[in-house]
Symmetry: C2
Subunit: 361 residues, 2 copies
């Protein structure tokens, strides 16, 4: 087992199999595949039992799988689905978990049919959240990659902010960021960059448009970089020219709410508790109805993953979990302000991982 | 009905409902949603009956849906799944098709539970391929957008090819292309750019690396642009410096095979028949085992979609269908050659849509 690139991840997955009374789990989700095995590709499956760990992939990727995932047996699979039945029979699997949040109805039916035709009769158990549960906790290697992604995002944002100018379109501004991200070694952006000026910024998920930047209105800039698979996520709100009193007032509320949540969040708190810290401040400032999204979210191989940090997030925030803290206030017709940093819980407290400059008045 | 942005697409979907004996179809696939309604987003569903057409999406996108999809009723949905039951009851739906290739096992279970709890009892019928079948045929508006994507890809490739130089890495070359694509107005690349030099080019799906370009070896450059949703896909093989006789020999076989397929493909032929035209030439030249992928694929809102064009593609190629023709020869340790153009069948013959220059010796 010590041959694995990530032995403790395989170990934790196997502990979960025991807990969930599964002989094996069949992993179809690409990020979970990458996380557990180290094998990065657009196609392939993992089958993991207490004693065996197999990557099943087609001819395009077998060589690469063997390189990226030492310790794993690599089986070359074809278009037919009989290979799963063969593995089930080889390993004498009686209960087989599959990822019900990832597998489509049609794929499951195909496997069921092939299992039956090949006299493999495991009990198929839908599982939900095993991969994302494991992935919520980041080990030191992951935090290092995440920090690289965040540092690139911070730097690219600051370079971009320095170039923003009246008359530039939102799309042009996004493209400056995206070029900077790539030129600093990220493989890509981690999600579609959002640049929203004035009334556009009143929509938290505005689609970056040809609207032109003007003086005095808030510009919400929500952006991220992906580095070796890990996703950063940063939001800053800036103003070209002079910010008026209303901008300052709203910005100050959002920043106060954000800093309070960063300061007060502790491990063991639920995502709901953390959300409530910031939401209370925004509510008491008279903007109860203007913060229509969650305070934050976990991030890692996906830009949104566990833990949840919002009004209905019952799960606990624990040491080793990175997540965003991003309160906002959105006022239709006027605009919006959102400020987002990534923190990680360490020694029961939040350590801030992102460091792009914020506005000061 | 004339209010719809794409009335004939809704009409064809309704004809398909009749044919498949469905009262309604529930569309979860994002590209199918966009195709039928014009509504572009990361979240939402369509419910279509003979008389009704409803977009179901959350608060973030209701305003945008109403703008993008005239003629559709837009329902705002929340986190609970009871809204589907309400619609089923409102429209008295007895048989409800869903997209089994898109919907996950867990999502289907959630809807089933909510339907039951809300006394909605339609027969749920898995459907496969309805959206992709419709999308295989492109109307004039789609072909225009696809041509824009192709023109951008062609131009960006030619600009890139002119800048390729010994010592540049594959990744640097890909980035030149990607910048050019964006600067010419595409919203993004349509898939991860593949640049493969020498032995790397022997793998059809090489992951673009830090390998440096050298003289004399083949460079396979597989790239595309996305314009208003439509995806181009182009492959050219080039050589820096002088091509030796072996490069010329292999290139000539691949080009001959490609031009033969373009010249001889006719509407009514199956994807398999088309594939066989090129494969026969490569086989007869002694490279039977060196062309390990399909000859091509349809493309549109997705870079790979119907029709299939490969050894097992039984579906017919018809007028109005665009697809790629991209034979290749891959020789381990030496390299590879692939040449890819997009064609569209018109008046029973292929019209070539891509025009980037090819090598001539």
């Amino acid at each position: 087992m010590s041959d694995f690139r990530f032995p403790s991840r395989v170990q934790k997955l196997r502990e979960r199999l025991t807990k969930d009374e599964l002989d094996a789990i069949f992993i179809s989700n690409g990020e979970n595949r990458r996380y557990v095995s180290g094998f990065v590709s657009s196609a392939g499956y993992l089958l993991v039992t207490q004693n065996d760990a197999v990557i099943c992939t087609d001819f395009r990727y077998t060589e690469q799988a063997a390189q990226q995932a030492p310790g794993w047996r690599v089986d070359r699979i074809g278009g037919k689905s009989d290979w799963l039945a063969n593995l089930v029979n080889e390993f004498e699997i009686k209960t087989l978990g599959f990822e019900s949040d990832d597998m489509t109805v049609a794929t499951l039916e195909r496997f069921k049919k092939a299992l039956k035709e090949n006299d493999a009769t495991p009990e198929l158990k839908p599982t939900s959240g095993i991969g994302v549960d494991l992935r919520a906790y980041k080990d030191a290697g992951e935090l290092e990659l995440l920090q690289c992604a965040i540092d690139i995002g911070d730097k690219a944002f600051e370079e971009t902010a320095a170039q923003l100018a009246v008359g530039m379109t939102e799309k042009e501004a996004a493209w400056i960021f995206e070029k900077a991200v790539r030129e600093q070694g990220a493989e890509s952006i981690s999600f579609e960059t959002i640049v929203a000026i004035g009334p556009n910024a009143a929509r938290p998920h505005h689609a970056t448009s040809d609207s032109k930047l003007v003086e005095g209105q808030t510009i919400v800039f929500d952006c991220g970089a992906r580095y070796q698979g890990y996703c950063s996520d940063l939001t800053r709100t800036v103003v070209l020219g002079k910010a008026d009193d209303e901008v300052k007032r709203v910005y100050d509320i959002v920043l106060t709410a954000q800093l309070a949540a960063i300061d007060m969040v502790t491990s063991g708190m639920t995502g709901e508790d953390c959300d409530a810290i910031a939401r209370k401040i925004i509510t008491e400032a008279g903007h109860e109805n203007d913060f229509g999204h969650s305070l934050g979210h976990g991030l890692g191989l996906e830009v949104h993953e566990n833990p949840g940090v919002g009004p209905n997030a019952k799960g606990k925030l624990e040491n080793g979990m990175p997540f965003t803290i991003e309160p906002g206030i959105y006022i239709p017709g006027w605009g919006g302000v959102r400020i987002e940093d990534v923190v990680v819980l360490e020694n029961d407290k939040a350590r801030v991982m992102s460091h792009a400059a914020k506005m000061s008045f």
